[in-house]
Every structure is written in structure tokens, then in C-alpha cells.
Symmetry: C2
Subunit: 334 residues, 2 copies
Amino acid sequence: MDDTHIGLAHGNGGRYMRELIDEIFARHLANPVLDVQADAALVELSASEILVTTDGFTVQPLEFPGGDIGSLCIQGTVNDLAVSGGLPLYLTINAFIEEGLEISLLDRLVASAARAAVEAGVRIVAGDTKVVRRGEGGGLYLATTGIGVRHGLARLGMARIRAGDRILVSGPVGDHGIAVMLAREQFGMRGDLCSDAASVLPFTRALADLEGLRFMRDPTRGGLATVCHEICRGAQVRITLLEHAIPVRDPVVSVCQMLGYDPLLLACEGRVVAVVAKRDASEVLARWRALPGGEQAALVGRIEAGQPLLVIETELGGRRVLEELEDEPLPRIC
Amino acid sequence: MDDTHIGLAHGNGGRYMRELIDEIFARHLANPVLDVQADAALVELSASEILVTTDGFTVQPLEFPGGDIGSLCIQGTVNDLAVSGGLPLYLTINAFIEEGLEISLLDRLVASAARAAVEAGVRIVAGDTKVVRRGEGGGLYLATTGIGVRHGLARLGMARIRAGDRILVSGPVGDHGIAVMLAREQFGMRGDLCSDAASVLPFTRALADLEGLRFMRDPTRGGLATVCHEICRGAQVRITLLEHAIPVRDPVVSVCQMLGYDPLLLACEGRVVAVVAKRDASEVLARWRALPGGEQAALVGRIEAGQPLLVIETELGGRRVLEELEDEPLPRIC
């Protein structure tokens, strides 16, 4: 392709669109199942039950320390399947590209998606591209759908959660939110903090045989606190989080103090929150801490009987109720 | 929800987002498989081979005569599975919503998607919403992924196409392209032409047992001519289209003459192009014409041995080569 930037003709179904798909998407994402000439991909499954999930990605800037929208669209969808007890197999990708996007940037992002797919062991089986006029998009939006099979026998779900269960998190919270925010020039701050964006498959697979495993979720939009609110509502339980036990990196604490953010509400893209029976909590910690990136895994709270409510307990024993997120501090964080 | 327009807080993972999902998406799209609390849906399949497809939708305006982006995102994905010989079962939907979109409009569009899903016999099993800032979206973009099983034994594909095969179209071409274009106020024209947007399942299922069926495709972006170019390239054949045999409605002809468009390059969203063995062509015509909306089905061309080339033959026997589409006359048509 001679062009350096995306034009409307890249979206019209004709020669330029074909070249865009061949030279960028098909080139990077090639695998035995992907046929860019077909309307639908034929894929084989070994199970009669499959897991399906879908997610949209609008992160801004498109590249940030520790990742980019390309790798994120793979990891985010892999992670939704992983925390549901699934082994991701196949992914589809939709790209909404704004007229004027640099083609070299698009190429880097698709190459990054391809690497993330290989790392997570998934194949891209179908895709679509649309081009929208300048001013009608934010550079690039991606939508990814994932198909997987269950890798454990357990059916996880909020309905399995019981009073007395423990809540664990696989690593420090808020890195992604702060790393993306700092990458926006408008904040005039710089740091060496990287996003935690990554596949969480090693962390979910490590727990697959644990009978006491009740529920897992990756704390993305709205962070750890929002996952807890969802559990409170879904399982009709009260949750107490131990503030001092929640791992938060120093730069995240500093930025939150400066700007008035709560780390518990910041997005992660490579962490798992798990609810497990009390008896299995130490086993989860041991398994997670043995994994690369799991060194700071921690037991951060407990499930209690009572009205749905999220209570934060401070180190000195003080307690405060944390309400559900209402305003929007950081749009386009994922 | 008290608000009348989408705000950034509808995208943050907190209360407003939950209310948006509950009160609009979950309310309209409810079915036994959809669980808006889950990260992934568990669905059952009766086959070990599945068909997967994905498509993005950016049509502008969001509502047009004969359809809207909600119904289109269902029909378009159903159709990609249908022309691949599939029976669509499950769909996922991603919504990229621009800050400021009227909530009543969003509600109509999601309701329309729900109706189209019921009509096509598919279930929405997963979804995601993202909100982008004013000026970073075009009101609403949707991405839909479809999962289906094959309903015939035949594996369709361009590799099956042979010289001598016939090309048929299930109805008039270009209605969608012109209807959407006229719905844009900038053209200052009005007509009573409706988009052809619809599920093509009745048309593809009608041919499921035909041994001579080689290949089907729905002529969306780039129209009938682009499908023919794809066949020329994919099957390494020459195609002759009979201009006078191609059904085009009068208002489409008129607008094309006024604005200099070629109806063969205009998008359809409810038509099928089929390539069949010569001996089956009249059977296809008979079956299609017996269906509602198939009255104008026509045999429009033939496959010939030779260099890949699309030739248009006029009523008087003149011949011209139609090149692949290069410029973009109508962005955001689907």
C-alpha cells in the first residue's frame, strides 16, 4: 500500500480495503483457520458446551507503557473467558478505524494483537474493518469476541458464594488505570509505571482443580471495588475489604493522593479477583505467589452474611462504607 | 434512568452503566442464555463444527427507511452465516456509544435489534458497552459476532466454482445503498424507497439440498460487482454479467443516473448472490421466486474460463470491463 494514512476508500469493500486486510490484518494474524475470503470461519470444538464473551476496547492513548489497544483487545477477552473457568480457543476482531489514522501505527497495533494471541494460545478466526470519517472516531476502536471451552469441571458463579468465604487478588491493583492516565499528555506527568495488562490464564488455570473455588472476575472498569459491589448485589452478601492488605504500588498511591482517586476504583487488565472457601485461601495464595507476576497476591477480604454492602476496614480498625461508582474519572481506560 | 442523553458515567462500570445495561440492553434482549452478570455465556451446541463470523456496523443515519443500525447488526451477521451454509444460533453485540446520544433513540435501536433477533431465531448471549467522548464517535457503532452450525452437508466455497456455472441474485440490487443515502439530509432528496435489509435465511435455506450449489455471498459493501470481483480472484475465473438481466428498481436507476453511481456497486443488505451449476439455475430461480421478496430473483451472469475479469454485457451485445471499486462514494452505508 502506498498510503501512509487511512482514507475512506480503505472501508469501501474494494481494492484498498482488500489491500489493508491482506497487508496488515491477514499478514499479522495469519493462522490455519483464518480465511479472509470467507464470510464465516469453520472451526472445530471438542465440547458440546462452549463459553462465549465479547468486549469493546477504546483505550486512549492507543499505545501506553506495558501495552496497547491491540494486545489489550486480546488479553481482555482471553481474561473474560479465563475467569469464567474457560480455556480460550478462538477470537474474532472488529476494527473501527478513523480516517487519518497512521497506517504504521495500525500495523504496530495489529502486530501486537497477533503476538498477544500467540502468547495466549488463541486463534483469530474472523474479522471485519470499518472506516469512519475524521471526527467520527477516536483513532481506533476494537471489539473482540472469544469462544472457549471449560477447562475445569466446576461451574463457577456468584450463586456459589457463601458467608465466610475469602476474597483474594492476584497482584497490585490500579497499575493499568494510572499507567494509561499518565500516558495522556494532558496530565503533564510521567512515570515508569507499566500497565498490568496481560493474560490471566496462568492464574485461573492454577486454581482449576480447587473445590473451594466459587467465583473469579478480572477487575477492569471500576476496579476491585466494583467487582465487590457486583458480588454484594449478585450473591446478596456483605463484603469487608482490609485496606492495608490490598497490594497497591507506591507510584499508584502517590498519583491517587495527588489527584484524589481511589485505587480500589482503578482498572486492572491483568489481575484476578477470586472468591474461595476459607479453607482454600492459603492454597490459592501459595499457588499464585509461585507464578511470575503473582508475588504480591494477597488475601484482601471476606464475605459476610448481611445486607449487600461494601465495608472498608482500615489498619487501625476503622470502618467506612464504599458506595458504588457514580461519576466517570477516566473515560477510555480500556 | 432519569437522564435523557448518554453521559460518560454510563461507561464507567458503576451504577449508571449497570442501569443502562439493565434497563435498555437486558430488558429488550432478554433470553434464557443471556446473563448480564456473567463474564462469559455458557451455550450448548449440537455439532462439533461451528461457523463463526463477525461484522461492524456504522450506518449513518442510525435509522433509515426499512431498518436501522439495530436490526441491521443482527441481519448482517445472520446473513454472513446464512450464505456460508450456516444456521445462526447465537450472537454477541458490542456497542460503542457517543456521549450525548439520545437514550430514547438507543432504546428504539436496541428494541429493533431484539425484534430482528427473534425473527431470525437467534439469541443474544453476550454484550458489552463502551461510552466515548462527544466528537469521538458517530452516535453509535455496533459490532456483532455470530455463531452457527451448518445446516446442509455441502461445504460451499469458491473452490467449487466451475466454468459454465450460473450466477443468480435473489432480488433487486442497490435498494439499501440508495435508501440510506436519501435518508441523509445533505442530499436534499426524498423518496419512498426502502432498504432491502432483512435476514436472507429463507433464501439460503431454500437451496440447502441443491447439489449444484457452489457458493453464496450477500452483496453488501461494494455491491454485486464486488462479489463478482471476489469470485474472479478467488476462483481464478472470468465472469460475464448480463446488464439487462440484473434487477434494479426504478428509483435506484433514477438516483444513480442523477448522481453518477453504478447500481452494481451499491450495497444490499437482504440479497443473496449464488453461484450454481448450470443445470440447477432454473430450480434456484423457481425456489427463490416462490418466497416473499424473491419475486424478482434473476439469473444475471455466468462463470467462464479465462483470466480473472468482470465483463458487463449490455442488452445490445456491447461489452465493457468493470474494474474493482477504488474510491469511496458512500461511507458508513452499513
